[in-house]
């Protein structure tokens, strides 16, 4: 069930209705049942995968918690131990915990790797050796990257004693499979999501209507804007003849499409949660208003970024070999290198993993590493910027900030073309053509109308994007749009909601003549 299918809308309506009809203590079991129905509808086989992940996380986290408990009890009972004895005991426990964690990680990351990357490895081997290994027909469970990451995060949190283990198997199963976020995130942390996931919620007009409004807004962005842009993006990136200024058009169209698609999907997800009184982490914070690429990555797909930071970047960069390497480099290669080596290596690993996570293909690796390179370069240029700013005092001035924002959007859009053209040399050639063959006339002579969008489409897109921009600007300056509407007379609030619904139904790009478009992030 795609979020944009009739089946899902019906499923959601029934689930919401049932959610508020059953007694509070039955709410979370109902959600678990609904989530399993949702996943089962995609394919009964998927349930097997998610059950293995859930069961392994359940068993291992209980074991980890038991070992931590053993350590606490032992140390409390033996207050007379020397520091060395305590250390030795802790180390022993840690070793056992680590073995359990590693087993759990190997199993779950292994499943993810085998299902998603087997064919990538086979294709790459074939390309390298000219061999004819046959790609295998592999089941890739829907949303496996998302739920695996979420579950692994939970187990690591238990391992780190940051999180008590969940003793109720079914509650953990709900955390792993919660249907709104199953297919495209956000990647929730157990500690945060569990605060509201299992508690009973009474119907409240404000939270429910806020949630619904956000769901509608998400649908609006997805079906009115993203899916209407889709034919143009497909046309522009599917044909290498669209060079020069067309590449710029493709960059911008794809930037808007991806934004509307992904944030729309997340709005639907978080909105569903809100309507049920469940709080999920935000995944976006007006990313296209970022002034540099690092800031962009702090505001785009936030839950993925923090996941990589907490569970990959930090563990690598503060592990003892890394610390020793850093120390050694300082001593032998000088301060400048020594200071950088940790950050460079760890963030390289993170961006490599981010690239591979996005897709089992070299274009995603190239995409990830380009991000890494740009971040490192801008990091190195920092002192230069500092000098520049001290000289010209432009910082904080509106035109300069606008320049920074546009620059960041363009840069990110250019890097993203790796993901669009799906071919590394082609991407580089196409981006190059912007500088050699740029013909700005295509923006005014009607050439854009040959991309599968007619004048009426462009009008709807223009108005829709203007509304989206206005909402973003309001959010940036004044905060929650919904709150502002809520403080107006109720008719304004509900009138907006009604208008949003009607516009989405009438102006949405769905149904006959449109292929049902998957959310872009469902692939990952």
């Amino acid at each position: 069930m795609l979020f944009t299918s009739y089946a899902f809308v019906g499923f959601l309506a029934l689930t919401l209705l049932a959610y508020y009809l059953v007694p509070g203590r039955c709410q979370w079991p109902l959600l678990l049942a609904a989530s399993y129905v949702f996943y089962w509808a995609a394919s009964p086989w998927y349930l097997l995968f998610i059950l293995v992940t859930t069961a392994s996380a359940y068993g291992v986290s209980l074991k980890l918690a038991a070992l931590s408990g053993e350590q606490r009890a032992y140390l409390a009972a033996h207050g007379d131990l020397t520091r060395e004895e305590k250390r030795a005991f802790r180390a022993g426990i840690k070793k056992r915990k680590w073995a359990w964690l590693l087993g759990c990680l190997a199993l779950n990351i292994g499943i993810l790797a085998v299902t998603k990357y087997t064919n990538f490895v086979i294709r790459s081997l074939n390309a390298l050796t000219g061999g004819g290994l046959r790609p295998v027909d592999m089941i890739v469970p829907m949303g496996i990257s998302f739920y695996t990451f979420q579950t692994v995060g939970y187990v690591i949190d238990v391992y780190r004693d940051r999180q008590p283990a969940q003793r109720n198997f079914f509650k953990l199963a709900l955390f792993v499979s919660f249907f709104p976020q199953l297919v495209q995130g956000p990647i929730s942390r157990y500690g945060q999501l569990s605060e509201t996931l299992f508690t009973p919620h009474r119907f409240q007009e404000k939270t429910f209507s806020f949630g619904l409004m956000r769901v509608l807004w998400g649908y609006f962005k997805k079906v009115v804007l993203a899916d209407r842009l889709l034919p143009a993006v497909t046309a522009l990136t599917g044909d290498a003849a669209y060079t020069g200024a067309y590449v710029l058009a493709a960059m911008l169209f794809y930037a808007f499409e991806l934004y509307c698609d992904f944030t729309g999907g997340i709005d639907i997800t978080i909105g569903i949660g809100e309507a049920m009184g469940i709080r999920m982490p935000e995944n976006f914070d007006l990313p296209y208003f970022s002034k540099n690429i690092r800031e962009y990555w702090n505001r785009w797909h936030i839950t993925m970024g923090t996941w990589f930071t907490d569970y990959i970047f930090y563990p690598i960069s503060v592990c003892r070999p890394m610390l020793r390497l850093s120390k050694w480099s300082r001593e032998h290669l000088g301060q400048a290198v020594g200071k950088r080596v940790t950050v460079y290596l760890s963030s390289f690993a993170v961006w490599l993993a981010t690239g591979i996570w996005h897709g089992a293909a070299w274009n995603f690796v190239a995409w990830g590493l380009t991000n890494w390179a740009v971040i490192m370069i801008s990091q190195e240029l920092e002192p230069l910027y500092e000098r520049f700013h001290r000289r010209f005092a432009l910082r904080g001035k509106a035109p300069y900030e606008a320049f920074q924002v546009v620059r960041t959007v363009l840069l990110m859009s250019a890097i993203r073309m790796f993901d669009c053209y799906r071919d590394v040399p082609l991407t580089i050639a196409m981006l190059g053509s912007m500088f050699t063959r740029f013909d700005p006339r295509i923006f005014t002579d009607g050439s854009l109308l040959d991309l599968g969008l007619d004048g009426a489409d462009l009008l709807v897109l223009g108005l829709g994007l203007a509304v989206a921009l206005a909402v973003s600007l309001f959010k940036r300056k004044k905060g929650s749009v919904r709150q502002a509407l809520y403080e107006k007379p109720a008719a304004v609030f509900y009138g907006t909601m009604a208008a949003l619904l009607v516009c989405t139904v009438v102006f949405g790009a769905y149904g006959a003549g449109y292929d049902a478009a998957q959310f872009i992030y469902n692939r990952f």
């Binding site: 007009e205 007619d454 009604a498 139904v505 102006f507 949405g508 790009a509 006959a512």
Partner: protein
């Protein structure tokens, strides 16, 4: 606070539903000019008198028989329940639907659609089904007809199917927001222009000439239903050679009729007897008859029918006279208009292909 907010929520919901309803009325195609075939199925429900004879089928009935001629010549009150590429199961459900409203003495089914075992196109599905009144027949018709990618809910709420037409609205959509003009004459689609038949390409070679299971099954159900209701079912093949009606198909249709004790009449070999001249009696080079041809065929067919079936002459019954006078007047007026256009432009301009807004 809460007490004062729910009326607004309710009001907004009502407004949203009202707006969606209006949008649906506006955006669903009206089929008033050019492509009028989409109006045919719904037009039946405006009928004020019963029919003793009902034709069911595709363009081979609604373009080839003139019910006005049947009325004027024999006093037969008839109606054609046909639509573009109406598939056998759709014909069956339209028969079911018709028999809920009235019980004619005879039903004539044209066998041409037996060659289709699969739904052919979403556009034809919609033209045939959207006009049906809601009931079990419509529900089952939809379920039997949907092509890949169609959804039942899009029949329930046609706005979901046609929402995207806002870019191509015409005057018709506004003018006929709440009412439609009749476009047929008791289900007959009028064309007076002439384009002679010159020849057809070789018929397609088929690997398998067996008529499909699904259409034959529905044909059987048609026969069952008619027997149950005491209606005589007559099978015909209209006198049209293209698309080709293979001898193998003809034998299967005849065998079915014999098995069920029904009459089957292939009109292709009878063209001379009927008096059809395919150089003057067709408007599209032999694919369909024009009005001249349809009148000749109706006159002949009415006579043939009365020889074996007892159909009453309704002339002189006030209700019938009034209803058919109105139809006849409209028929003659449209005919005059079409001839006038032919005289003036050499072709039809507000009917048929030239009137289709693309």
């Amino acid at each position: 606070m809460k007490g004062r907010r729910w009326p607004a929520a309710l009001l907004a919901a009502v407004c949203a539903l009202g707006a969606l309803y209006l949008a649906q009325r506006l955006l669903v195609p009206k089929y008033q000019t050019g492509v009028v075939e989409g109006s045919m199925v719904a037009e039946y429900y405006r009928e004020t008198v019963d029919h003793d004879l009902v034709f069911i089928g595709d363009c081979e009935v609604y373009e080839n028989f003139s019910p006005i001629t049947l009325w004027e010549t024999y006093g037969i009150s008839s109606y054609i329940r046909g639509s573009a590429q109406q598939l056998t199961w759709q014909s069956y459900y339209l028969l079911e639907d018709t028999l809920r409203h009235e019980t004619p003495r005879a039903v004539v089914y044209n066998v041409q659609a037996l060659q289709f075992s699969q739904p052919q196109s979403e556009a034809y599905n919609r033209m045939t089904i959207d006009g049906m009144r809601w009931g079990p027949a419509k529900v089952r018709c939809i379920l039997a007809s949907m092509t890949e990618g169609e959804h039942f809910i899009e029949y329930l709420f046609p706005l979901l199917r046609y929402h995207d037409r806002w870019g191509e609205l015409t005057g018709d959509d506004v003018e006929h927001l709440f009412s439609k003009d009749p476009v047929t004459h008791a289900g007959y689609y009028m064309r007076v222009d002439v384009k002679a038949q010159t020849g057809f390409p070789e018929p397609r070679m088929l690997a398998d000439y067996t008529l499909g299971e699904k259409p034959m099954d529905y044909l059987g159900r048609m026969a069952d239903l008619c027997r149950e209701k005491g209606v005589e079912l007559i099978l015909i093949k209209a006198p049209i050679e293209y698309p080709h009606w293979y001898d193998e198909w003809d034998r299967q249709a005849a065998a079915f009729a014999a098995e069920r004790g029904l009459t089957y009449l292939n009109l292709i070999p009878l063209r001379e007897e009927i008096g059809l001249d395919m150089s003057t009696d067709t408007y599209d080079a032999g694919l369909h008859l024009n009005t001249g041809g349809a009148e000749k065929l109706a006159a002949w067919f009415g006579g043939w029918l009365l020889e074996r079936t007892d159909l009453p002459d309704r002339r002189g019954e006030a209700a019938y006279d009034a209803a058919w006078r109105e139809k006849t007047d409209y028929y003659n007026a449209m005919k005059e208009r079409q001839y006038a256009e032919l005289a003036q432009y050499g072709e039809l301009v507000s009917f048929g292909a030239n009137a289709v807004e693309r």
